[in-house]
Symmetry: C2
Subunit: 217 residues, 2 copies
């Protein structure tokens, strides 16, 4: 290592930095191609590094690369939901959805492929990663709603809405984003409120949440 | 073949009849175990037939058995949605949901495992089977609603609700069916109506559907 800054093309990266450079390259490839169609050689080319270097970072091959990319996308997705606990609740949800939809838009095909699982993947492990994101999103929302130890009806409502958001965003991508992102976001927020209102008819806990939501707009 | 009825234990079945007997045996095993844990030998034992016979029907092994079982479950699921076009719309939906929830209850773990995909499966093909059921369900609903060539908002609303129903039923199973099935069914119907009402605020086509639904109760 020299004290002067090396030129970008030959910059030596630390292990974590290099790994994340390779994952970024992989994610941008997954944005246009299915996991099956992305090889470690493609990643080397996209990142401008040698093939042996990519193999050193992902000795498990395609499967390991795919899982690492999925984990990295999962981490990014988790960050989308990380919203400060300030101000009215529904705008917080709207901001989280804006970040989520920007992520979906940015990763395009790769998002669908990563979330739906390609044909090369060992699904039990990748399903667990994706489910982890869904669970994290549900916990974020429930904690913003102030529901510690929520009952089955409230939890089910939140989890159903998260699945519905995921389905909506896959359809949205599939239909070339016909709806503007901000219209989709507002509509998803309204769907959330409506779903909670239906549950509130049978569940006092959800009733309290709905009152809190309509009281702070 | 003799003109007198053979005793059940030694009854000779036609190819289709035998195949469906084996698939029934497989589905009942999948109801208690993940696809990974069901072997062709287990199916032979459960069906009371020889192992070579099962191998003759499923020469592709576990993967072929799994796919055939999934297809058979998919056909059963499609039948759930096949409701006569008579009487008010929401009770039709409620009857379809009753059949669907009975199917979910009857197949238990196997339902989750089949729909979520086990670790042995080649997902692209099995995902296509499951997606086919979702699409068929959406088409059934849209056609009952009288929406030929529905716009993106109405279609998205229906497909989101179908995904949400699927998520709800998996959570329901996972939580040992805490809610009674008829309460879950009513709640899902109410969620459907509420989702349509939200969409109707932005979409005239969905507005007409909501008016038709509330007019025929």
């Amino acid at each position: 290592m020299t004290p002067t800054a090396p030129t970008p093309a030959y910059r030596r990266l630390g292990v974590e930095e290099r790994r994340s450079q390779l994952l970024d390259a992989a994610l941008s490839l997954f944005a246009h191609r299915a996991p099956d169609e992305v090889s470690l050689d493609d990643v080397a080319e996209a990142a401008g590094v040698s093939r042996p270097l990519v193999y050193r970072y992902f000795p498990g091959g395609k499967q390991q690369l795919y899982e690492a990319a999925l984990r990295s996308a999962a981490d990014e997705l988790r960050d989308c939901f990380d919203e400060p606990r300030e101000g009215p609740l529904l705008p917080r949800l709207a901001r989280a959805l804006d970040r989520y939809l920007a992520f979906v838009e940015g990763h395009g095909t790769g998002f669908s492929a990563l979330l739906q699982g390609g044909s090369v993947v060992e699904t039990s492990r990748t399903t667990a990663i994706v489910d982890g994101v869904r669970r994290a999103a549900a916990e974020h929302i429930l904690s913003h709603l102030g529901a510690a130890g929520p009952g089955p009806r409230l939890r089910m409502t939140v989890r159903m809405w998260i699945t519905a958001v995921e389905a909506a965003s896959l359809i949205w991508l599939d239909e070339d984003r016909q709806l503007p992102a901000d219209e989709l976001r507002d509509w998803l927020v309204e769907q959330f409120l409506a779903a909670l209102e239906v549950t509130a008819r049978r569940d006092a806990e959800t009733g309290a949440v709905v009152r809190a939501l309509s009281g702070d707009g």
